[in-house]
């Protein structure tokens, strides 16, 4: 039985090679082996959204994918968002609107919001709420998060 495999991937623009146990999920690999602790682990069964991150252009749950499945993939985590236009706008808008309290859901919430904004989603509050409804936040009650997303969309529309 092979217990580990070598994988090569690109994380936040940086090529990475590593040997990972087969059973290690992607978010644990990123956190524990690469030290990218921005992605958080909340439920480990794909419900809370805290580990949402981008793999090959799609937002996925880092706890529902094995690290070995990411061989050859291009991955962006919250640590890589600052260099991406809409993501950086969302980060600023989250701060301005106080769209976070404890900050634990924030990396995953930003990832889901980024997916919505980059897909050209409109400033419709109900649609934003619907899109974010896979990301759990215990602190804010969500309203300020919706405000932050709306602000970014409306600023984009003005430009």
């Amino acid at each position: 039985m092979i217990n580990s495999q070598n994988i090569s991937l690109v994380v936040n623009g940086e090529p990475v090679s590593a040997s990972v146990p087969n059973r290690t999920n992607l978010v644990d690999f990123l956190r524990n082996q690469l030290g990218l602790t921005g992605s958080h682990v909340g439920c480990e069964h794909g419900v809370c959204g805290a580990c949402t991150l981008e793999v090959n252009g799609s937002m996925i749950r880092g706890c529902l994918m094995l690290a070995v499945q990411a061989d050859g993939a291009e991955i962006t985590t919250v640590e890589g968002f600052t260099s991406r236009d809409k993501a950086a706008q969302l980060q600023r808008s989250f701060q301005k609107n106080n769209a976070l309290q404890c900050g634990y859901c924030t990396p995953g919430m930003l990832a889901s919001a980024l997916e919505y904004v980059e897909a050209g989603g409109g400033a419709d509050r109900a649609a934003i709420r619907q899109h974010l409804s896979g990301n759990y936040c215990r602190c804010t009650g969500y309203q300020s998060i919706v405000d932050a997303v709306v602000d970014v969309i409306e600023q984009g529309a003005k430009q």
Partner: protein
Amino acid sequence: MSGPLTLFDKPNSYIGKSVPRPDARRLVEGRGKYVDDLQLPRMLHAAFVRSPHAHAEIGIIDTAAATALPGVIAAYTATDLADHVSPYVGILTHLQGLRSPPQMPLAVDRARWQGEPVVMIVAQSRAIAEDACELVEIDFHTLEATCDAKTALQDDAPVIHAEFDSNLAWQRTVDAGNVEEAFNRDDVTVIEREFTFGRHTGVTLEPRASVVEYDPSEEVLTYHYSGQAPHMMQAVLAKHLRLLEENVRIIARDVGGSFGIKIHTYGDDVATAAAAKILGRPIKFIADRNESFVSDIHARDHTVRGRLAVDAEGKIAALEIDDLTGIGPYSMYPRTSAIECNQILNLTGAPYAIDNYRARGTVVFQNKNMMCQYRAVGHPVAMAVADGLLEEAAHKIGMDVVDIRRHNLFADNAYPTNSAAGMKFDDLSHQKALEKLVKFMDYDALRQNQTEARTQNVYRGIGLVSMVEVTNPSPMFYGIGGAPISAQDGASVRLDAAGALHVSASITEQGQGTNTIIAQISAGVFGVDIDRVKVTTGDTATTPYGGGTWASRGAGIGGEAVLQASHALKQQVLDVAGVILQAVSDQLDIVDGHVVDKDAGTQRISLADLGKIVYYRGNELPADVTPELIATRHYRVTDFPFVFTNGAMAAHVEVDVETGFVKVLNFWAVEDCGRVINPKLVDEQIRGGVVQGIGGALYEECIYSPDGQLQNASMADYLVPMAAEMPDIHIDHIETPTKTSVLGAKGAGEAGTGGAPAAIMNAVNDALRPLSTSLHQMPMTPQRILKALGKV
């Protein structure tokens, strides 16, 4: 209280402004530092074998196969830890008669709830530790479980603790006025209802987390803590691991939500600390989500029978409640599990002038996970019972639900006054809050909308609540009863050689913005730009002694300590400046980082220059001038046991009578938390709290089987509020500063959670009223609503 009168309207004051949180940028960029982010050299990982049974004798425990697994370092049972940990007992002497047996971190001889830790495995990774847990063999002999609080005191109920004669933990009664006589009056209408509040839990997104390191050379234990009360944890760990208190350091950096969940003493955390001490290596324990559900404290679990008598004018003649609550097999240490029941007795009907009030509370042991203080302790129950009965009474006598409140709320000029249960009130504004709410929500228009909707078979309801919140507790809350919990908090403020301020404070940050308001108060009171204030919290080695952040006390108590310390430092700086400038210090002020002439505003010397003279060129000062440039102040509430706040809230809901689903259309809150330091942060506390309250009212419940198995211990099965179901929440304020401090701030952390369930329940029942049914059981799930409607 005396204080600088111009403090709050000075041009450079930050108090009252929505300053963005400086630390938020770190968190949005993924640079947070939570406990699980720590990786220490030679760190090991803990996992626990937990009891699969609610009640069972523990026979032989065989850990041989587990310890033989490569990578496993140690396995511990209760016996192995007996010499390393002294037992703890969750009682407080002022809760007279409360009893609970000694508890150890791992179950001794008998497991008493499903999820109780029995064996601890320490291994090189969490995955290996979990593999080893699978290999532990435990000979359990199951026993009949006592799960239902309603039957726990029956003669035939299995007694959970052999040393006690029954499953009774505590009982208390309150009897004010003449309740019997009032209920027997000819001119009163009596409403009687039974209210049920299901168990729910905190579901902090970051689970409970500990990393503990021990240095045997200095006998120093360092506990990286995700929690709210570092000094309490220091005292608890020192006492029960037999260490000197000063040799235990608690460090709380970023905390991924707490809400009261992480303020208690958990066996798995204590076992982790004990193992770190035994092994002399760092150990990490992070609860997984299943462990969170079965071992994080639960809250509520109350059945309350209530009756209310009102006269024809709607004036309350009498209120009586009987609360029964199940707390699991032990009273939680050190805050105890009787506090929620105690609060319910203290707070039910507290907004109203009631002469005749009787209450009984009964707290019982049961074979379920432990119950303890969680956000808004007791408030949702107390408010829902009183305001639920009051709205029912209003309808019964044909009175509007707003009018009946107008007739009964304490008048705004009634203070100081006492409630029937003996609570001392001052500086409240119930009547003003109600009137503001009615206008804010456009009550009359909503009623009209409701009538119109009903003609189209759309069932909408409007529900209100008038409420109080316990904030800024004095030593009367815990300290008086013997708990190592500080009611006072401290702050040290110092000026450095570059003219910047460094504040270290004993209150703590879990995302509510504690560090921000500390900086606001200090910058404003002292007179520097907020960017020049560096705040340290959450470390017992570097902050003054204090209670931390809980019971909505951070701003009101810790904030006042910051204010006083900043003011004292300012006086020191002005005295030094007076010497340097050969001026009278009374005629100087500090504005924008400069000492200025108070009247003309002319800049005389920058704080950086002053700092350099004091620190580098002390030779320029007369020998008898020895500036400290650091000031420390502590503050506690002395005049009142608690500083109450008040508020009025309303919910607008639509009930789908075919599916039983409730849609919350809108929610309004008018809150009086005294002086508002940061309006945005206060609003967000209330919004988050309201949503947590909506969760308890509509979705959240820890569902147990009759034999004590938690059946929905995952986030897929336990429903929490998500973005799509929640409405926007409208907030307005009244500011009646408390006279107990110069700052005048009361707390705001729990109002939303305390008030929202009552407003939601009243709104749902208002929607159901034309269908001649009602529901007083939370959560008000679709199934329960359909059952109330007779459809299932």
